[in-house]
């Protein structure tokens, strides 16, 4: 499964980066969403994927039955998802505001600040 996921994740990175190279700020946002998901899936894939073995322990037991999936990777992804959401919320509103201020969905009209 990791092979398929590796290819898919690579594709997601490509899709995200492609979107971020567009002029439209709305597309930039979509690129950010994809990128953050892609990174989470990368961690998931890199840590190894296990079917049907959630790291949950039955009451009264000390260990989960059999081999369990990597809970640490899951915790990391969970953290990354929430952080990603926070950052995305900020970015989305920022773009919203920038659009209001600049009045165009075109990143090319936001280049005067630099020089």
């Amino acid at each position: 499964m990791e092979v398929v996921m590796a290819v898919t994740v690579g594709f997601l990175y490509a899709a995200a980066l492609y979107m971020m190279l567009r002029r439209s700020i709305v597309k930039l946002v979509i690129g950010l969403v994809l990128l953050s998901n892609a990174a989470n899936l990368l961690i998931f894939t890199a840590a190894g994927m296990v079917r049907g073995a959630p790291p949950l322990i039955y009451p009264g037991e000390l260990l989960p039955p059999g081999v369990s999936a990597d809970p640490l990777a899951q915790a990391l992804i969970l953290t990354a998802i929430v952080i990603g959401f926070g950052v995305l919320a900020f970015a989305v509103v920022l773009i919203h505001r920038a659009y209001e201020v600049v009045g165009a969905d075109d990143m090319d009209q936001m280049k005067d600040t630099d020089t």
Binding site: V4, L34, S68, A104, D108
Partner: protein, 783 residues
């Protein structure tokens, strides 16, 4: 010694208050410090004159309490880097110290009067005293880095002095030019001295001077020599770096007098003399110094002769003197070294005097140009007398000290170890022109028909005359009593330059009838002849103006423009303002770095396990990928959002099917909230625009796919290279007994890795505050 140096800086810091307290006498009051320093330095004279060398460690104070010595010694500066305030007092450094403090006395007292009406006088004192302290530090330091520190301090303080009239754009430009040129050289010097220390194994001059052979044989000798020369040449205005010096005349006259007579510009000469035992004596040393020195000498005096501005004439003649000194040090024979020291002294005296006279002409007659002057002898009797005396020394007329020095110089040139014809030719030409320049200075303002000066001329007060008087007179005193100077300090100085070996040469007013004397006579006659046709010669030399437009100064200007031009261009190219180019830069760089590295190190993918594929999982993953694809291809904004929703659900499904339940739940919730957020925001955002032509899209897609491919490669190779068990094993084992929780992921989040979670909720909170601020600011602005 430490306290001597520090006291100047301390007084500099206090100068504005002293100025406020003492009012119009502030010049005299503050001049007490250089005077007492002069006396203090004199106290070293007996030992030094006897050929002795005094090395003072960083904590060697003397009269101060021992704890203070120790504390200051520790503080200044950085033992870990072998930077310390140690001092070396020998003939050379003492000669300079005496000149700096001695002339400094006159400068400070003179300035108190000269700038009496300036409201910046208080600040001027600060800088001039700091400059004096720096100069003293520079010539007395034993530690190379300490010397360099003072070296750069002189650059900075002189920058402030040159830019004294800072509301004048010309002054600012000249100050900047001087600073850039000298600091540029200084940086070369820094590299040079670090290499010198590396070659000699020490940062202490007293040791470096004894390891000359090691240095000369070191592989780094040539580069370090070139770097140090670059430092010295820029500071001492050798061709082709001479252009900054005349521009520096924008400074008030006392500053010019100080900078050009004994201090700033001579620092380079000092450095050459100082390092002569260590670096000198080689073919390349001789060739470079003698050539650059001789050419500078000639160019200086030539330009001097064709100038008419009073300070300009004097400034270019300083360039000549600096060239002469460099040449002499390069020649390096005993005679030459003694000549160098004698010429140094003579020049300091007459040039200091003449600059101060120039100040008087400006101050009391309003004249800034020789063409504005003439026949002023009657109006300024005392001034003119000493001016003429100084000019005579400059011309090298018997029995003034200038004559002694010039004779010895000519003798050295004739006895040089090579290049004699060329050097002699330049020396003779310079001597002739030099007399001409001296004539301009010594005759033009004072004799001949009276020319109306901008202001009605008045004789100067004692504070202004004291300097020229004493300095010019000393030229006569030392000329008549050559032994006074020689035994007092010059022999010791030459000995120091000669690496501690006494020089086999002596000073005399009368060396007998010899070639140098003949040349002197020729020079006098020729010089006076040239002076008599000064106006016509200047006319014929008008082409020089055109030529100098293509000179080194133009090079400097071009370079500065070039830097700004390159900067402009670079900013346009790199900092273009287009976010997508920035992103592209980052992606391409990353892909290249990763790709090339993977290629170089032969990173490969291990055997791929594709046996466990399941159809429904493939379908889910495919829909995931297709959702992403649709999100990027659709022209419908909310279609893209809906696609993100479907993407999110399939991602959640992957998480859930592969055992990440908490993650799956979070993904679903976050995805839902993201969709809500986007829907709320898109309400006001415009539709997608098809802004890019097909080839741009193709290019971007290629870049993106290359980067994505790199990611795939990395995941696969990481997957096949894994060698260790995850620490998760322990976390699972500890979850129930230690963490009291059966959901291992949650136990990790709230217990094993609390800090992550803590940070994460703070991220969320910060984002919320940020959003709040953005929206509220907007709302308030609308109101």
């Amino acid at each position: 010694m430490l306290y001597a140096i520090l006291s100047t800086f301390l007084l500099a810091a206090l100068a504005p208050w002293v100025h406020r307290l003492t009012g119009r006498y502030s010049g005299w009051v503050l001049a007490l410090l250089p005077a007492s320093l002069f006396v203090y330095f004199l106290s070293f004279l007996p030992e030094v004159a006897a050929g002795g060398t005094v090395v003072l460690g960083p904590s060697a104070g003397g009269w101060a309490p021992a704890w203070l010595d120790a504390a200051l010694g520790r503080m200044l500066w950085m033992p870990g880097l072998e930077i310390q305030l140690s001092f070396l007092v020998d003939g050379l450094s003492l000669l300079f110290a005496l000149l700096i403090s001695g002339i400094g006395f006159f400068i400070v007292s003179y300035a108190g009067r000269y700038l009496e009406k300036s409201r910046d006088l208080g600040r001027f004192y600060v800088v001039i005293l700091a400059f004096m302290g720096s100069m003293l530090g520079l010539v007395l330091a034993d530690n190379l880095i300490a010397m360099f520190i003072f070296w750069e301090l002189t650059s900075v303080t002189s920058y402030l002095l040159i830019g004294y009239n800072h509301e004048d754009a010309k002054a600012r430009k000249a100050a900047l030019q001087g600073l850039i040129v000298t600091v540029a050289g200084g940086l070369a010097l820094l590299a040079g001295i670090v290499m010198l220390a590396l070659a000699s194994g020490s940062y202490e001059l007293s040791e470096i001077l004894n390891s000359g052979d090691a240095v000369r044989e070191h592989a780094l000798y040539l580069p370090l020599l070139l770097l140090i020369l670059l430092g010295a040449f820029t500071k001492s205005a050798q061709v082709p770096f001479h252009f900054w010096l005349p521009n520096a005349m924008a400074a008030p006259t006392p500053v010019s007098a100080y900078l050009h007579s004994a201090t700033m510009v001579k620092a380079g000469v000092y450095l050459l003399a100082r390092l002569n035992p260590s670096l000198g004596g080689t073919e390349v040393w001789f060739t470079l110094l003698a050539l650059f020195g001789a050419v500078t000498m000639f160019v200086g005096v030539f330009l001097s002769f064709r100038s008419t501005g009073i300070k300009s004439v004097l400034a270019y003649s300083t360039v000549m003197a600096l060239g002469t000194l460099t040449m002499l040090i390069g020649i390096g024979t005993d005679t030459a070294l003694l000549a160098a020291m004698a010429f140094l002294l003579a020049h300091s005296l007459y040039k200091g005097a003449l600059f101060l006279v120039a100040g008087i002409l400006d101050h009391k007659a309003g004249a800034k140009d020789f063409l504005q002057t003439g026949g002023l002898r009657a109006a300024l009797p005392v001034t003119s007398a000493f001016a003429i005396l100084a000019a005579l020394s400059m011309a090298g007329v018997l029995p003034l000290f200038g004559f002694v020095a010039k004779e010895l110089m000519l003798e050295s040139v004739l006895g040089a170890p090579g290049l004699v014809p060329l050097l002699a030719l330049l020396a003779i030409a310079s001597a002739i022109l030099g007399v001409g320049v001296a004539a301009i200075v010594g005759i033009r303002p004072w004799f001949g028909p009276r020319v109306e000066t901008p202001k009605t001329p008045h004789e100067a007060p004692p504070a202004l005359i004291a300097g020229p008087a004493v300095l010019a007179s000393l030229g006569l005193v030392f000329g008549l009593g050559t032994g006074l100077a020689e035994d007092g300090i010059l022999a010791a100085a030459a000995q120091a330059v000669n690496g501690g070996v006494p020089v086999d040469a002596y000073l005399a007013l009368w060396h007998g009838l010899n070639w140098p004397l003949a040349i002197s006579v020729l020079a006098l006659v020729g010089g006076l002849f040239l002076y008599s046709r000064w106006d016509r010669v200047r006319e014929q030399l008008a082409w020089v103006d055109t030529a100098s437009r293509y000179g080194p100064e133009r090079g400097y200007d071009k370079m500065m423009d070039g830097i700004v031009g390159v900067s402009d261009w670079q900013t346009r190219v790199l900092q273009s303002g287009y976010l997508r180019f920035y992103i592209m830069f980052v992606i391409v760089s990353t892909a290249l770095m990763v790709g090339v590295t993977a290629q170089i190190f032969g990173v490969s993918v291990g055997p791929l396990a594709i046996a466990d594929l399941r159809l429904y999982e493939m379908a889910i993953v495919a829909i995931m990928a297709l959702s992403a694809l649709y999100a990027i291809l659709t022209r419908s904004r909310l279609g893209a959002v809906a696609a993100l929703g479907s993407f999110g659900f399939t991602v959640a499904l992957v998480f859930v099917l592969f055992s990440a339940l908490d993650v799956g739940i979070t993904q679903i919730l976050v995805e839902t909230l993201t969709v809500i957020l986007l829907v709320l925001v898109l309400f006001r955002l415009p539709g997608f625009l098809g802004l890019s032509p097909w080839w741009v899209k193709l290019r971007d897609a290629t870049i993106a796919l290359a980067a994505g491919g790199m990611v795939t490669l990395l995941i696969l190779s990481t997957h096949s290279a894994r060698e260790f068990d995850s620490i998760a094993r322990e976390l699972i084992e500890w979850s129930v007994p230690e963490g009291y929780g059966r959901n291992v992921v949650n136990v990790i989040l709230v217990d094993f890795r609390t800090l992550d979670t803590l940070g994460e909720i703070f991220v969320l909170a910060l984002a919320a505050v940020g959003v709040y601020a953005m929206i509220r600011f907007r709302a308030e602005d609308r109101r």
